[in-house]
Amino acid sequence: MKILVGIKRVIDYNVRVQVNRDGSGVVKEGVKMSINPFDEIAVEEALRMKERGDANEVVVVSIGPEAAQQQLRTALAMGADRAVLYQSDEEVQPLAAARALLAVVEAEDPGLVLLGKQAIDDDSNQVGQMLAALWNRPQATFVSALEFTDGVAKATREVDAGLENIEVELPAVVTVDLRLNEPRFVKMPDIMKAKRKPLEIKPFAELGVEMPVQLETTLHEPPPKRQGGVKVDSVQALVEALKNKGVLS
């Protein structure tokens, strides 16, 4: 089985994101960029599947600027077999990304598409579900455990009520959550090997995506600062205040 993994280049999760001066976006100058952490977990899961014999090829794909090659190289150094970058300097919102991935899926014919549950930049949490809809295939989102038997995947999902299991026939789209695995460290010799692995860069337009209507972002602003409240002088006063506020019954 071939696994297609989608990865996105995002501002590293250790970086404190700040709104730029005119509110048109966030400060990206000098900021460290990385693979979206959830996508990295998706890559790791694909590699483990290959190592277990559940898959025989791992293809990583990204949509983004030319520099997103760095993140694809990292995925190759982790162990992916080949990579494709659909280069776009414009913003590609979730529906357009899902349509683009559908075109990739039609060309690559994977048995499984693994994606992060969401990108930590726009926090949309949409692409996997949208791709599954357009592909008319099952989806398993927020997955924290995954098993395969005879063309069927059993997925454990992290839902508000706890954990739930679903079964999906393959091919399917699986979006992964934090607890699925812990991605491996990239090893130095593998970085060298990754330099020789195939990485294609194609223009986004090549996918022939019919561009959907996109949301228009008019302003970025920092969240409102939390205002301090009052100091109470006794436990009784505290309990009373909490009750009055309705947060304590």
């Binding site: 250790n14 970086v15 700040q18 400060v27 100058e29 000098g30 460290f185 130095m188 010799p189």
Partner: protein, 553 residues
């Protein structure tokens, strides 16, 4: 090398040249090596998560050496690059400031204020395009040494292991994701770790490279990048100061560089030979920011990023021998910075390029030390060698001596010795008043209006991160000293000199004081390795990719 896990199988990678450290010295050396010897196999290790992540410098750069190294840099300048404008040198008192004549070394016409981290990223790309293998996220952890006595030579470095878990032992144990560090074997290893490099420190001791040098001395520098309300800046304006809040006996001062887009770099450097055990360099910097002049500039602005790093201040007389069999020290790993100019970047470039040229010409590290001392970089250090040590007698004597040395261009017939920073502290019993510095030791944050609120808030702007399960990388040889002798004699100065609050004395469960190390705050400045009065703190590199992620500093 008792602390290495001998039974772990490691990959070995062979190179002609292994460079440890992706700062200006290491990158300049890599580029020049590849230019001189295109066939040479070269790798460059960097402990930060990416090139530039751990780079922090003033930085008003003399462009000459960079023009020589990468002439095209001016066509595609780094993210922050502002031509130097007017220079001002000021003396501060609590409420006022006075303009002083700018010392000749501090004239900056033709220089550039740059974000060195950004410049390093560009240099790394250039190096990679020439074929250098650049490995960010991989610290050099141990030197590989073969032979004994006169035959002893450096044969490479062992990279740090990944995925170690704390288990109470200094080295920890392999966790589930453990990946053993690779052994890099190289014909020549170049230590370009910057000030107080952890491998350099070991090799200087092992090969007794400082036998003929006076003790290296250091400064601790802080830097913040601010975004200010529109209209307050004069792009290119460069201000340096001495005086308040430091007392006469403490060496140091401020810098303030006006950038474009209503931004400024503001920073403070303190000589780590300060004497007052109650002194907190971080608090001094914050207090300086609250001087009426600075407060008026900064109020209403926001910090974009901040950090701290030590610099080598010992100059020529403290410069260790820069060569040993199989390896060279370059840049601030040796200590090539010019203190009176407060500039090290051009010197680092020069020493890196010179090392490459020397290796290309001679094929051996031997002779590099003499070549460096005879070079423009070495001559520059000779000229100013007596200025920084002249401040040992305080600010006024130092300034007078500096004037004399400057007029004579260093042709004075003597060379002043340096003194080690770790034994400069007065004991609590003997500590003098030190003017307002004593007040700074007390928490005065109540009257503080500018961010950051405290050191923990400051470290937030350094984007620092360490995998929390790893063993503590700040090794304290004997923590019993902390609660007993140190508490008694010096009042635990580590809790004050660390710029990010790594060291805390807390009340333990038995009611006694004990040392708490908040290793994950560490910004890799190395001040603790230098200033601890018992020399029991050993800074070792944590898991690769840990530490600050400096943004345009």
């Amino acid at each position: 090398m008792s602390e290495q896990q001998g039974d772990i199988e490691r990959d070995v990678m062979e190179y002609d040249y292994a460079i440890v450290g992706g700062g200006p010295a290491g990158l300049a050396c890599a580029i020049r090596l590849k230019e001189k010897m295109p066939e040479a196999e070269i790798c460059l290790l960097e402990k930060g998560s990416e090139i530039g992540a751990h780079i922090l410098s003033g930085c008003v750069m003399e462009p000459g050496p960079l023009d020589e190294l990468m002439p095209a840099w001016r066509d595609n300048p780094p993210a922050i690059c502002v031509p130097a404008g007017r220079d001002e040198f000021r003396l501060y008192t609590r409420a006022r400031s006075f303009r002083l004549p700018t010392p000749p070394q501090m004239h900056n016409a033709g220089n550039y204020i740059v974000a060195l981290g950004e410049l390093c990223k560009q240099l790394a790309e250039h190096a990679e395009s020439l074929g250098v293998e650049v490995f960010p996220g991989f610290p050099g952890r141990h030197p590989l040494i073969e032979g004994e006595g006169a035959d002893m030579r450096v044969v490479g470095v062992r990279c740090g292991d990944m995925g170690l878990e704390a288990d109470g032992t200094p080295e920890g144990r392999p966790g589930p994701a453990f990946a053993a560090g690779v052994d890099i074997r190289a014909k020549t290893t170049l230590l370009a770790e910057g000030c107080r490099g952890s491998l350099s420190k070991q090799l200087i001791a092992r090969f007794k490279l400082n036998r003929d040098a006076t003790p290296q001395t250091y400064g601790l520098g802080f830097k913040e990048l601010w975004q200010l309300p529109a209209g307050r800046t004069t792009p290119g304006l460069i201000q340096h100061s001495v005086g308040w809040p430091l007392d006469n006996s403490t060496y140091g001062g401020s810098f303030l560089y006006h950038l474009d887009e209503d931004r400024v770099y503001i920073g403070f450097v303190v000589g780590l030979d300060y004497e007052d055990p109650r002194f907190s360099p971080f608090e001094a910097f914050q207090q300086f920011k609250h001087h009426p002049d600075m407060r008026a500039l900064l109020e209403g602005g926001e910090i974009i990023s901040s950090g701290a790093r030590t610099i080598s201040e010992g100059g020529l007389q403290a410069l260790p021998r820069m060569e040993m069999p199989g390896a060279l020290l370059i840049g601030d790993a040796a200590g090539t910075l010019n203190v009176p100019k407060i500039k090290g970047v051009h010197q680092a470039f020069r020493s890196g390029m010179l090392a490459a040229e020397h290796l290309a010409a001679s094929g051996t590290p031997e002779g590099y030390d003499a070549a460096f001392r005879a070079s423009a970089a070495g001559r520059e250090l000779h000229k100013v060698r007596n200025i920084r040590p002249g401040f040992h007698g305080g600010l006024w004597l130092g300034m007078a001596n500096a004037a004399l040395e400057t007029v004579l261009a260093g042709r004075t017939p003597w060379t002043l010795a340096t003194h080690a920073d770790w034994d400069s502290l007065e004991t609590r019993a003997s500590a003098r008043a030190h003017g307002e510095q004593a007040a700074m030791a007390a928490n005065w944050h109540q009257e503080r209006s500018l961010p950051p609120r405290d050191r923990l808030a400051s470290v937030y702007f350094a984007n620092t991160a360490h995998e929390e399960s790893q063993p503590v990388h700040l090794r304290v040889a004997d923590t019993s000293i902390c609660a007993t002798r140190c508490a008694e004699e010096f009042g635990n100065p580590c809790t004050r000199f660390c710029p990010v609050g790594v060291y805390e004395m807390v009340t333990g469960e038995d009611g006694g004081l004990q040392l708490q190390i908040n290793a994950s705050n560490c910004v890799h400045c190395k001040a603790c390795d230098i200033k601890d009065p018992y020399l029991i703190i050993d800074w070792v590199p944590p898991e690769g990719g840990s530490g600050p992620n400096y943004q345009t500093l």
